[in-house]
């Protein structure tokens, strides 16, 4: 710890720096605060005159104010969901302030809002440093839910509930844990407990709403989301939940949630798809482009953009998009399925078959479902010609078992019919009503 320079110097320095906040100023002020306390603790008060002491206190207060101002700026950025900005500001804090529970929690929350769930190591830090901290842990539990790390999540929820049974965050974590195990009834019970413990905690209502959506009790879900919004009108998560329910019920109301959190790429991705379903494909492409600019690593946005391009018959660009996606997420069967459909449209049946069989390899059960779904949709039966060509090609390929070729047959047929399936909301919605 270096000794501060002579006091007259300090005076001039602080005067010139009153306008702006610079790193050295904060450091020095904090040095003085520390020095102050250490001097006092050493019992050397007698050697410092009252004037100097008052001066020191003033410097310490200024230092404290500048620190609080930085933290405030960071918090403001976070609340307006300028998450990158917030992370920037908060990481510039001096290290002994950075490594505190509150700051790390805010940074963790910023990463969460950015959907960068992999930065969960930040939250680990919080637990390590302040393992009694309960606030902010609900974000950590939701992160683990997204990453599907059930062991870590159950450890977290056990710790939290042991520590503090009266905190809503602990019960939210427990609810998330059971939701990941798909025990939705138990998860609902825990979220209700969280609400009982603190009726003004908006996130508990939101999580409860999501659970009700998963158990298809949409009216209860609507009520929960409305409660959440009543408690905290800026809780964009609840607006999103409302929007999704209305989307299911064939209206669309996602705009409000987007107004509050314009940076969420997931949200933008959703809106893009809704717009596409409403036939505003240009707008959809715009929105999806925005989403990708914000978060180039969001694979689902790219996938949806590719499918919009496919529906608009821009096969080359769709293919390009899908190739990039293959690099990012090589194990996702949906990607191969869509590539297969594009090749089928372009008439390159060999490549189409290859991709379809990769897709089926990666997810045999998914393929069966989509065959069944696609067969259900009765579409124009002018696929007979290409199908017979398919059969010829497959007949010559002796290496495939007959069951596989049959599956491929139906899948190609299904793919052909489903490829004609534009995301036309009217037709799709009609089907849903008839079901």
């Amino acid at each position: 710890m270096k000794f501060p320079p002579k006091i007259p110097n300090r005076k001039t320095k602080s005067k010139t720096n009153k306008g702006g906040i610079t790193q050295p100023n904060i450091n020095d002020s904090l040095e003085i605060t520390k020095l102050d306390s250490s001097i006092i603790s050493e019992g050397k008060i007698s050697t410092i005159t009252p004037q100097i002491q008052a001066f020191n206190l003033q410097k310490a207060a200024a230092g404290l104010m500048s620190l609080l101002r930085e933290m405030g700026k960071g918090y403001l950025a976070l609340c307006s969901y300028n998450c990158k900005e917030a992370i920037n500001i908060l990481s510039h804090l001096p290290s002994h302030h950075y490594s505190t529970g509150w700051v790390l929690c805010q940074i963790g929350r910023a990463y969460f809002e950015l959907s960068e769930y992999m930065q969960v190591s930040i939250e680990n830090e919080v637990r390590r440093i302040e393992n009694y901290r309960v606030e902010g842990m609900e974000i950590y539990s939701t992160t683990l839910w997204h990453l599907q790390k059930d062991v870590a999540l159950s450890v977290l929820s056990k710790d939290l509930t042991d520590m503090d049974k009266n905190s809503p965050e602990a019960w939210c974590a427990a609810g998330n844990c059971f939701s990941l195990q798909r025990e939705h009834d138990i998860a609902i019970k825990f979220f209700q407990r969280a609400i009982q413990v603190d009726p003004n905690y908006a996130y508990a209502y939101t999580l409860l709403g999501h659970e009700f959506v998963l158990t298809e009790e949409l009216d209860k879900a609507l009520a929960c989301f409305r409660n959440a919004i009543r408690v905290n009108p800026r809780h964009y998560n609840a607006w999103y939940g409302l929007g999704m329910i209305y989307y299911k019920q064939e209206n669309s109301a996602l705009q409000k949630s987007l107004d509050i959190n314009p940076q969420s790429s997931v949200l933008l991705g959703h809106i893009g798809v809704v717009q596409h379903a409403l036939k505003k494909s240009e707008k959809a492409l715009d929105t999806l482009n925005k989403a990708i600019v914000i978060d180039p690593k969001n694979p689902l946005c790219k996938f949806h953009r590719a499918s919009v391009l496919f529906a608009n018959e821009k096969y080359k660009s769709a293919l390009q998009e899908l190739e990039e996606l293959k690099q990012i997420v090589p194990k996702e069967s949906l990607v191969y399925f869509l590539i297969g459909k594009v090749y089928k449209k372009l008439g390159q049946t060999h490549l189409a078959l290859m991709n379809f069989s990769w897709a089926m390899d990666l997810d045999p059960k998914g393929a069966n479902n989509q065959i069944k779904e696609a067969i259900d949709k009765h579409y124009l039966p002018d696929d007979e010609e290409p199908i017979t060509q398919e059969e010829q090609i497959m007949g010559t390929d002796e290496s495939q078992e007959s069951s596989m070729t049959d599956a491929d047959d139906t899948q190609l047929h299904a793919a052909e019919s489903s490829s004609r399936m534009v995301f036309a909301s009217a037709r799709w919605n009609n089907k849903r009503r008839c079901l």
Partner: protein
């Protein structure tokens, strides 16, 4: 063939649930029985406990009625165990669906031979798709060794989980996709 093949036990339905492709909806339904012995009724049939059972107390056929709002049902799982229930084990079960009691149509009939575990009954209509119905009735037409009353230990009913997120594609498989699928 001198002895008929025994009905093999199926997988534990909990495994089904964990795949996330089906969801148990028995809790959203109204259950009723044609008859039961006191203390051996619907609660014992739905308590997730294989030790407790429903015992009927009337004449055949014994009926279990499940009523709900119009839902797609995919699979029915029944637990039966010949070793513990002997002559109370059902041997012929008929599954009927419809809108109400007067409108039921049989869609499945099963023959069980000394079952010893979970029996999965897929409920599909003529087009091999899961049925949509208001009501399911499980009728026990006959028991092993011509027993009169029947024991049934557990019944679970599953509906397929719709891919709730946007778009009409089948489920995604990797965590990377699923991470971005919803805001929570």
């Amino acid at each position: 063939m001198t002895t008929p093949n025994k009905t093999p036990p199926g997988a534990d339905p909990k495994q089904l649930e964990r795949t996330g492709t089906v969801r148990e909806i028995g809790s959203q339904a109204v259950w009723s029985l044609s008859s039961c012995k006191p203390g051996f009724g619907v609660d014992q049939l739905r308590d997730d406990n294989l030790e407790t059972y429903w015992q009927s107390d009337g004449s055949q056929p014994h009926l279990v009625n499940i009523q709900f709002r119009k839902t797609t049902v995919k699979t029915l799982c029944i637990y039966a165990d010949y070793k513990s229930d002997e002559s109370y084990t059902p041997s012929k079960i008929s599954v009927r669906v419809g809108n109400n009691f007067h409108n039921l149509q049989e869609i499945r009939q099963l023959e069980l031979v000394e079952p010893s575990g979970w029996i999965h009954v897929p409920l599909t209509d003529n087009h091999k798709k899961p049925t949509r119905t208001f009501m399911i009735q499980i009728a026990v037409l006959a028991n092993h060794q011509n027993g009169r009353d029947t024991h049934m230990r557990q019944i679970k009913i599953y509906t397929p989980v719709e891919e709730s997120s946007i778009g009409k594609f089948p489920r995604c498989t990797t965590i990377d996709f699923m991470m971005y699928r919803s805001i929570r």
